[in-house]
Amino acid sequence: MLQQNYFELFGLKPAFELDIDSIAARYRDLQRAVHPDKFANAPDQERRLSVQQAAQINEAYQTLKLPLSRARYLLELNGITLNDNDTAMEPMFLMEQMELRESLAEVRGKPDPFAALMTLRDTIEGKERDFVADLSAAFGSGEQSALEGARETVRKLQFMEKLLRELEELEEELV
Protein backbone atom coordinates (compact mmCIF):
# COMPACT_ATOMS: atom_id res chain seq x y z
CA MET A 1 0.00 0.00 0.00
CA LEU A 2 2.82 2.40 0.85
CA GLN A 3 4.20 2.06 -2.69
CA GLN A 4 0.98 3.10 -4.39
CA ASN A 5 0.41 6.61 -5.62
CA TYR A 6 -2.46 8.58 -4.11
CA PHE A 7 -4.83 7.79 -6.96
CA GLU A 8 -4.09 4.05 -6.83
CA LEU A 9 -4.66 4.14 -3.10
CA PHE A 10 -8.22 5.21 -3.82
CA GLY A 11 -8.62 2.69 -6.64
CA LEU A 12 -8.53 5.40 -9.32
CA LYS A 13 -6.65 6.22 -12.48
CA PRO A 14 -4.74 9.51 -12.26
CA ALA A 15 -7.09 12.23 -13.51
CA PHE A 16 -8.04 15.78 -12.69
CA GLU A 17 -11.78 15.24 -12.90
CA LEU A 18 -12.84 13.14 -9.94
CA ASP A 19 -15.97 12.20 -8.10
CA ILE A 20 -15.22 13.83 -4.76
CA ASP A 21 -18.07 12.08 -2.96
CA SER A 22 -16.83 8.62 -3.83
CA ILE A 23 -13.29 9.61 -2.77
CA ALA A 24 -14.64 10.79 0.58
CA ALA A 25 -16.50 7.50 1.03
CA ARG A 26 -13.43 5.47 0.06
CA TYR A 27 -11.34 7.59 2.45
CA ARG A 28 -13.58 6.70 5.38
CA ASP A 29 -13.46 2.96 4.49
CA LEU A 30 -9.67 2.99 4.24
CA GLN A 31 -9.26 4.90 7.49
CA ARG A 32 -11.46 2.39 9.26
CA ALA A 33 -9.49 -0.56 7.88
CA VAL A 34 -6.10 0.68 9.06
CA HIS A 35 -7.15 2.59 12.17
CA PRO A 36 -4.34 2.23 14.77
CA ASP A 37 -6.90 1.37 17.49
CA LYS A 38 -7.51 -1.91 15.68
CA PHE A 39 -3.86 -2.78 16.06
CA ALA A 40 -3.54 -1.91 19.74
CA ASN A 41 -2.70 -5.52 20.62
CA ALA A 42 -0.87 -6.35 17.39
CA PRO A 43 2.89 -6.83 17.21
CA ASP A 44 4.99 -3.64 17.11
CA GLN A 45 5.75 -3.86 13.44
CA GLU A 46 2.12 -4.19 12.40
CA ARG A 47 1.13 -1.36 14.69
CA ARG A 48 3.76 0.93 13.20
CA LEU A 49 2.66 -0.01 9.71
CA SER A 50 -0.96 0.86 10.50
CA VAL A 51 0.09 4.28 11.77
CA GLN A 52 2.10 4.89 8.59
CA GLN A 53 -0.76 3.78 6.39
CA ALA A 54 -3.28 5.93 8.23
CA ALA A 55 -1.00 8.95 7.72
CA GLN A 56 -0.54 8.16 4.04
CA ILE A 57 -4.28 7.77 3.46
CA ASN A 58 -4.90 11.06 5.20
CA GLU A 59 -2.28 12.84 3.13
CA ALA A 60 -3.64 11.31 -0.07
CA TYR A 61 -7.14 12.49 0.73
CA GLN A 62 -6.04 16.01 1.61
CA THR A 63 -4.06 16.18 -1.65
CA LEU A 64 -6.76 14.84 -3.94
CA LYS A 65 -9.78 16.64 -2.55
CA LEU A 66 -8.76 20.18 -3.60
CA PRO A 67 -8.19 21.18 -7.25
CA LEU A 68 -4.95 23.07 -6.59
CA SER A 69 -3.13 20.35 -4.65
CA ARG A 70 -4.58 17.67 -6.95
CA ALA A 71 -3.21 19.51 -9.99
CA ARG A 72 0.22 19.96 -8.36
CA TYR A 73 0.32 16.26 -7.58
CA LEU A 74 -0.76 15.26 -11.10
CA LEU A 75 2.02 17.43 -12.54
CA GLU A 76 4.52 15.71 -10.24
CA LEU A 77 3.34 12.29 -11.43
CA ASN A 78 3.96 13.54 -14.98
CA GLY A 79 7.49 14.59 -14.05
CA ILE A 80 6.71 18.31 -14.06
CA THR A 81 7.92 20.05 -10.94
CA LEU A 82 7.23 23.58 -9.77
CA ASN A 83 10.27 25.65 -8.94
CA ASP A 84 9.17 27.95 -6.14
CA ASN A 85 12.17 30.22 -6.64
CA ASP A 86 11.10 31.04 -10.17
CA THR A 87 9.66 34.56 -9.81
CA ALA A 88 8.98 35.36 -13.45
CA MET A 89 5.29 35.50 -14.33
CA GLU A 90 3.31 37.04 -17.18
CA PRO A 91 3.45 40.82 -16.59
CA MET A 92 -0.27 41.17 -17.26
CA PHE A 93 -1.04 38.61 -14.60
CA LEU A 94 1.19 40.31 -12.02
CA MET A 95 -0.30 43.69 -12.86
CA GLU A 96 -3.76 42.29 -12.25
CA GLN A 97 -2.59 40.73 -8.97
CA MET A 98 -1.25 44.11 -7.85
CA GLU A 99 -4.60 45.71 -8.67
CA LEU A 100 -6.56 43.04 -6.83
CA ARG A 101 -4.31 43.47 -3.77
CA GLU A 102 -4.81 47.22 -3.94
CA SER A 103 -8.59 46.77 -4.11
CA LEU A 104 -8.42 44.51 -1.08
CA ALA A 105 -6.34 47.06 0.83
CA GLU A 106 -8.89 49.76 0.02
CA VAL A 107 -11.88 47.76 1.29
CA ARG A 108 -11.54 49.10 4.84
CA GLY A 109 -12.06 52.69 3.72
CA LYS A 110 -15.19 51.92 1.72
CA PRO A 111 -18.63 53.14 2.94
CA ASP A 112 -19.87 49.55 2.75
CA PRO A 113 -16.82 47.32 3.21
CA PHE A 114 -18.85 44.09 3.18
CA ALA A 115 -20.38 44.86 -0.20
CA ALA A 116 -16.90 45.68 -1.52
CA LEU A 117 -15.55 42.39 -0.11
CA MET A 118 -18.36 40.44 -1.69
CA THR A 119 -17.71 41.98 -5.11
CA LEU A 120 -14.02 41.24 -4.79
CA ARG A 121 -14.70 37.68 -3.69
CA ASP A 122 -16.94 37.14 -6.73
CA THR A 123 -14.17 38.42 -8.98
CA ILE A 124 -11.50 36.18 -7.44
CA GLU A 125 -13.71 33.09 -7.34
CA GLY A 126 -14.73 33.68 -10.95
CA LYS A 127 -11.07 33.74 -11.99
CA GLU A 128 -10.38 30.61 -9.94
CA ARG A 129 -13.22 28.80 -11.70
CA ASP A 130 -11.72 29.77 -15.06
CA PHE A 131 -8.30 28.45 -14.00
CA VAL A 132 -9.80 25.17 -12.76
CA ALA A 133 -11.64 24.79 -16.09
CA ASP A 134 -8.31 25.40 -17.89
CA LEU A 135 -6.67 22.71 -15.75
CA SER A 136 -9.45 20.27 -16.48
CA ALA A 137 -8.99 20.81 -20.22
CA ALA A 138 -5.19 20.56 -20.01
CA PHE A 139 -5.15 17.35 -18.00
CA GLY A 140 -7.96 15.98 -20.13
CA SER A 141 -5.88 16.36 -23.29
CA GLY A 142 -2.82 14.85 -21.62
CA GLU A 143 -0.44 16.41 -24.17
CA GLN A 144 2.95 17.50 -22.93
CA SER A 145 2.51 21.10 -24.10
CA ALA A 146 -0.86 21.26 -22.35
CA LEU A 147 0.77 19.99 -19.15
CA GLU A 148 3.42 22.71 -19.37
CA GLY A 149 0.56 25.19 -19.67
CA ALA A 150 -1.07 23.58 -16.63
CA ARG A 151 2.08 24.33 -14.65
CA GLU A 152 1.56 28.06 -15.30
CA THR A 153 -2.10 27.80 -14.39
CA VAL A 154 -1.23 26.08 -11.11
CA ARG A 155 1.18 28.90 -10.28
CA LYS A 156 -1.52 31.48 -10.98
CA LEU A 157 -4.04 29.59 -8.91
CA GLN A 158 -1.61 29.72 -5.98
CA PHE A 159 -1.70 33.52 -6.09
CA MET A 160 -5.49 33.48 -6.18
CA GLU A 161 -5.68 31.14 -3.20
CA LYS A 162 -3.39 33.42 -1.20
CA LEU A 163 -5.54 36.39 -2.13
CA LEU A 164 -8.67 34.57 -1.06
CA ARG A 165 -7.13 33.66 2.31
CA GLU A 166 -6.22 37.31 2.89
CA LEU A 167 -9.71 38.35 1.92
CA GLU A 168 -11.11 35.88 4.45
CA GLU A 169 -8.82 37.20 7.18
CA LEU A 170 -10.01 40.74 6.51
CA GLU A 171 -13.60 39.54 6.54
CA GLU A 172 -13.12 38.08 10.01
CA GLU A 173 -11.51 41.27 11.25
CA LEU A 174 -14.42 43.33 10.02
CA VAL A 175 -17.14 41.18 11.60
Binding site: L82, P91, F159
Partner: protein, 125 residues
Protein backbone atom coordinates in the same frame (compact mmCIF):
# COMPACT_ATOMS: atom_id res chain seq x y z
CA UNK B 1 8.00 33.20 13.62
CA UNK B 2 10.21 35.87 15.17
CA UNK B 3 11.46 38.54 12.79
CA UNK B 4 14.89 40.11 13.23
CA UNK B 5 15.07 43.72 14.47
CA UNK B 6 16.10 44.90 11.02
CA UNK B 7 13.13 43.21 9.38
CA UNK B 8 10.81 44.72 11.99
CA UNK B 9 12.30 48.16 11.40
CA UNK B 10 11.71 48.01 7.64
CA UNK B 11 8.31 46.42 8.14
CA UNK B 12 7.11 49.11 10.54
CA UNK B 13 8.79 52.00 8.71
CA UNK B 14 9.08 50.88 5.10
CA UNK B 15 11.28 53.23 3.05
CA UNK B 16 10.25 54.53 -0.34
CA UNK B 17 6.78 53.05 -0.67
CA UNK B 18 5.03 54.39 -3.73
CA UNK B 19 5.08 54.41 -7.49
CA UNK B 20 6.50 56.31 -10.45
CA UNK B 21 4.85 56.76 -13.82
CA UNK B 22 5.87 53.54 -15.55
CA UNK B 23 5.51 55.14 -18.99
CA UNK B 24 8.21 57.73 -18.27
CA UNK B 25 11.37 57.10 -20.25
CA UNK B 26 13.70 57.36 -17.25
CA UNK B 27 11.69 54.92 -15.14
CA UNK B 28 12.31 51.19 -14.98
CA UNK B 29 9.66 48.90 -13.49
CA UNK B 30 10.22 45.40 -12.18
CA UNK B 31 7.25 43.19 -11.34
CA UNK B 32 7.79 39.77 -9.83
CA UNK B 33 5.78 37.24 -7.90
CA UNK B 34 6.45 34.25 -5.65
CA UNK B 35 3.95 31.51 -6.48
CA UNK B 36 4.86 29.53 -3.35
CA UNK B 37 3.55 32.22 -1.01
CA UNK B 38 1.56 34.43 -3.38
CA UNK B 39 3.67 37.52 -2.70
CA UNK B 40 3.76 40.23 -5.38
CA UNK B 41 6.41 42.93 -5.61
CA UNK B 42 6.76 46.01 -7.79
CA UNK B 43 10.08 47.83 -7.69
CA UNK B 44 10.78 50.97 -9.68
CA UNK B 45 13.90 53.02 -10.37
CA UNK B 46 14.35 56.52 -11.75
CA UNK B 47 17.57 56.82 -13.71
CA UNK B 48 19.32 60.06 -14.72
CA UNK B 49 21.26 60.76 -17.91
CA UNK B 50 24.51 59.61 -16.35
CA UNK B 51 23.00 56.17 -15.77
CA UNK B 52 22.77 56.69 -12.02
CA UNK B 53 19.70 55.62 -10.05
CA UNK B 54 18.40 58.85 -8.52
CA UNK B 55 15.33 57.48 -6.84
CA UNK B 56 13.65 54.15 -6.17
CA UNK B 57 10.33 53.02 -4.79
CA UNK B 58 8.40 49.81 -4.23
CA UNK B 59 5.06 48.32 -3.39
CA UNK B 60 4.96 44.79 -2.00
CA UNK B 61 2.04 42.66 -0.98
CA UNK B 62 3.51 39.92 1.13
CA UNK B 63 5.04 38.96 4.43
CA UNK B 64 7.30 41.12 6.60
CA UNK B 65 10.45 39.63 5.08
CA UNK B 66 9.32 40.40 1.53
CA UNK B 67 8.45 43.98 2.48
CA UNK B 68 11.76 44.43 4.31
CA UNK B 69 13.75 42.94 1.40
CA UNK B 70 12.24 45.34 -1.13
CA UNK B 71 12.47 48.31 1.23
CA UNK B 72 16.16 47.60 1.81
CA UNK B 73 16.88 47.26 -1.92
CA UNK B 74 15.33 50.67 -2.68
CA UNK B 75 17.66 52.18 -0.07
CA UNK B 76 20.69 50.36 -1.44
CA UNK B 77 20.25 51.22 -5.12
CA UNK B 78 19.87 54.98 -4.70
CA UNK B 79 23.03 56.69 -5.97
CA UNK B 80 24.29 53.49 -7.62
CA UNK B 81 24.93 53.07 -11.33
CA UNK B 82 22.84 50.46 -13.15
CA UNK B 83 25.83 48.13 -13.30
CA UNK B 84 26.47 48.46 -9.58
CA UNK B 85 22.79 47.89 -8.78
CA UNK B 86 22.78 44.77 -10.95
CA UNK B 87 25.41 43.16 -8.71
CA UNK B 88 23.12 43.07 -5.66
CA UNK B 89 22.75 39.46 -4.60
CA UNK B 90 19.93 37.92 -2.69
CA UNK B 91 22.48 36.55 -0.22
CA UNK B 92 23.54 40.14 0.63
CA UNK B 93 19.93 41.02 1.38
CA UNK B 94 19.35 37.87 3.41
CA UNK B 95 22.50 38.48 5.42
CA UNK B 96 21.73 42.14 6.11
CA UNK B 97 18.22 41.29 7.32
CA UNK B 98 19.25 38.06 9.07
CA UNK B 99 16.54 36.13 7.20
CA UNK B 100 15.95 32.53 8.30
CA UNK B 101 16.28 29.81 5.59
CA UNK B 102 12.50 29.59 5.03
CA UNK B 103 12.46 33.28 4.12
CA UNK B 104 15.35 33.26 1.66
CA UNK B 105 12.89 33.27 -1.24
CA UNK B 106 11.82 36.79 -0.16
CA UNK B 107 15.34 38.05 -0.82
CA UNK B 108 15.36 36.18 -4.16
CA UNK B 109 12.19 38.07 -5.04
CA UNK B 110 13.85 41.43 -4.28
CA UNK B 111 16.96 40.56 -6.32
CA UNK B 112 14.79 39.49 -9.26
CA UNK B 113 12.73 42.69 -8.92
CA UNK B 114 15.70 45.04 -9.18
CA UNK B 115 17.11 43.03 -12.10
CA UNK B 116 13.72 43.20 -13.84
CA UNK B 117 13.53 46.98 -13.23
CA UNK B 118 17.00 47.47 -14.77
CA UNK B 119 16.08 45.34 -17.79
CA UNK B 120 12.85 47.28 -18.25
CA UNK B 121 14.73 50.59 -18.12
CA UNK B 122 17.31 49.40 -20.67
CA UNK B 123 14.62 48.12 -23.03
CA UNK B 124 13.03 51.56 -23.05
CA UNK B 125 16.20 53.44 -24.09
Amino acid sequence: MAYSDKVMDHYENPRNVGNFDKDEKGVGTGMVGAPACGDVMRLQIKVNEQGVIEDACFKTYGCGSAIASSSLVTEWVKGKTLDEAATIKNSDIAEELALPPVKIHCSVLAEDAIKAAITDYKNKQ
